[in-house]
């Protein structure tokens, strides 16, 4: 229950639409408290409330609006990149630095085992406490992060390890140094090289898929997304401030951008949705990690069956299909 994982009424971070859920949690806790104190038996009431709680949680999370989904994806208790590494990856060996400028803590790279499979990992990490957040720049990578990722992916290619990337960033860092050191070039280079890397690449958006900063480690054979993560060309706030001329219309923008897992699947931007525990990954990080691990193990096994030529052919076709256009009659086109 909520109380066990730090999301109880006392320490929990409440999303605006979760009020009734928290109210029920509180009632259950109170009943449990008075049961313990008075020795009277409230177990049937508690059972009833728990059933209510579960069905309310289910109902709420089944019908999240796109904006509410964004809020879940940004939930301060949502499991982060490195936490998935801790739960899923055995004997992780981190590899630091891009051999050019620095070691960007917003993207962690290394080697490890997932199930029985040896893999290279590229993991965006936002940081949990203030100190860590500052160290990894709130998950906003600089060019050296993307260059480190490419270096490790090339290493994986050389030694025939599949690559797993976990994506969670608001975007690449918009700063002077970032531009001076060519963040655009770093991302562009990754897109090109990832499209032809001769080893399987598996990408999962675990939280925020913030535009080019996410895509910079997001080209691969299979792109998956956690149920309540989002992936967008621009943040809802940014979109709203440009089109609606006020960042306060973020909720409308989130709706218009079709950035939820379900929409992205319909648009073929993602291949698969990885289910989250009841009420979101933050309610049970362990279960979220188990789901992710199951998906990774299964997909790595699938991709391993393909030879590199077939793999690259399919990867190319997958990316080549991206987008929706119409074909005019030539006569109409000739007018232009």
């Amino acid at each position: 229950m909520a109380k066990d994982n730090g999301n109880g009424p006392a320490g929990g971070y409440q999303l605006p639409f979760e009020k009734p859920i928290f109210r029920l949690e509180r009632q259950i806790a109170e009943l449990e408290g008075s049961q313990a104190e008075s020795g009277r038996d409230f177990s049937s009431e508690i059972r009833k409330l728990r059933a209510q709680y579960v069905s309310l949680l289910k109902k709420t999370y089944q019908s999240l609006t796109p904006w509410e989904t964004v809020l879940v994806a940004r939930h301060p208790k949502r499991p982060l990149g490195c936490e998935y590494i801790d739960r899923i990856v055995k004997s992780f060996v981190e590899l630091h630095g891009d051999r050019r400028f620095a070691d960007d803590r917003a993207i962690r790279c290394g080697l490890g085992r997932i199930g029985t499979e040896k893999v290279a990992l590229i993991v965006q990490h936002k940081g949990r406490d203030t100190k860590e957040k500052i160290a990894c720049n709130f998950g906003c990578a600089h060019p050296e992060g993307y260059r480190k990722a490419l270096r490790v992916m090339k290493l994986a290619e050389k030694f025939h390890l599949p690559v797993v990337t976990l994506i969670d960033t608001q975007g690449a860092y918009p700063g002077v140094g970032s531009e001076e050191r060519g963040v655009a070039e770093a991302i562009a280079r990754n897109l090109l090289e990832m499209s032809r890397l001769r080893t399987p690449i598996l990408c999962v958006i675990i939280g925020e898929g913030g535009s080019g900063g996410a895509l910079g480690v997001g080209v691969g054979d299979r792109i998956a997304i956690l149920e309540f993560a989002y992936y967008s060309v621009i943040s809802p706030e940014g979109c709203a401030s440009i089109l609606w001329r006020t960042g306060e219309k973020a909720s409308e923008a989130a709706e218009a951008l079709k950035l939820t897992a379900r929409h992205l699947k319909e648009l073929d931007v993602v291949d698969e949705i990885v289910p989250e525990p009841l009420g979101g990954a933050h309610r049970s990080p362990a279960e979220a990690a188990t789901n992710l691990e199951r998906f990774l193990v299964r997909t790595l096994r699938d991709l391993k069956r393909l030879g590199p030529d077939e793999l690259l052919r399919r990867r190319y076709d997958r990316w080549r299909r991206m987008g929706k256009v119409i074909h005019l009659e030539l006569q109409t086109a000739a007018k232009s």
Binding site: G171, Y173, S178, A188, W244, L257, K258, G323
Partner: protein, 291 residues
């Protein structure tokens, strides 16, 4: 993107893929009159003189922005441009709406205004007698933003260049990804880069020409992937918008930040080439690398 900018910053500034910087049309002073003022040197210029000078100020060499059709005329040998893939037109895959407006209507308006179906022209052309696959982005069409059509036409052209072993020349001018097509716009960065990877594997020569402005997702994909990257003088080239950066770092941006000269100084542009020398520079590069 193509809308007027808000004065207040957003709370979440991390959206560098979509450019939020200066407007393309703002710089065009008095476009229809006989005279115009140069924003570079403040001189009053006779429009016809500027046009004859390839839309470059004869006084201070300020490069005015040029639309797609005019760029093709300036760059390709006369009447040599065979347009391809013009039949590919934008859909409205998200049925995108905002404050009572619809993307579908907006597209129609842009098409009527420009006479083009989208923000890129693709085809085969000759530059000083050298046959090339040529793509020209059109800043007059929704700020040259990159949507599905741009990605599809450019990818088709790259594939054509791969098959026919033609040098590829792409003139970039773009406000970034087109948010009205959501994540599909973002995916065009991956799609065009994948096509370029195959072109590269096949030994193709790709010359990128960056013009004012080249920003956001365009910069972070094909614009920065040229074997040789040329830029017009003074062009704004960057990933994140300047206002976004200024809001993030909470201080002034350095002098000349994100201009072509700045990028060459930092090592990301091979050469700065004035517009009137573009044709001969491109021809020379082709002769050196892909004769």
């Amino acid at each position: 993107m193509a809308e007027p900018q808000p004065t207040n910053g957003t709370k979440n500034p991390y959206d560098p893929t979509v450019f939020e910087g200066p407007q393309i049309r703002k710089k065009r002073d008095v476009p229809d009159g006989l005279w115009m003022r140069c924003p570079g040197c403040e001189s009053m210029l006779y429009r016809k003189t500027v046009a004859e000078n390839l839309e470059v100020c004869p006084e201070c060499e300020h490069h005015f922005r040029v639309g797609g059709r005019l760029r093709v005329q300036q760059l390709a040998d006369p009447d040599s441009f065979e347009e391809r893939f013009a039949e590919i037109a934008p859909a409205d895959p998200l049925e995108f709406k905002w404050s009572g407006k619809r993307y579908a209507d907006r597209l129609k308006a842009e098409q009527d205004k420009s006479g083009n179906t989208e923000a890129i022209l693709t085809g085969i052309a000759y530059i000083k007698g050298r046959r090339v696959a040529l793509a020209v982005m059109d800043g007059d069409f929704l700020m040259g933003s990159m949507g599905s059509v741009l990605g599809e036409k450019l990818s088709l052209l790259i594939e054509e260049a791969t098959r026919s072993s033609l040098p590829l020349v792409v003139v970039c001018m773009s406000g970034g990804a087109r948010m009205h097509e959501g994540a599909l716009s973002l995916m065009q960065m991956g799609k065009t880069s994948a096509a370029l990877a195959r072109f590269d594997d096949g030994g193709g020569l790709y010359i990128a020409v960056l013009t004012d402005p080249t920003t956001g997702g365009t910069t972070a994909s094909f614009a920065m992937l040229g074997d040789v990257i040329l830029s017009e003088p003074g062009a704004l080239i960057g990933f994140a918008g300047q206002r976004v950066i200024a809001n993030t770092i909470k201080s002034e941006l350095p002098e000349g930040f994100q201009r072509a000269e700045f990028l060459m100084d930092k090592g990301f542009v091979d050469r700065i080439v004035p517009r009137k020398e573009l044709r001969s520079e491109i021809a020379q590069l082709i002769d050196y690398l892909k004769p």
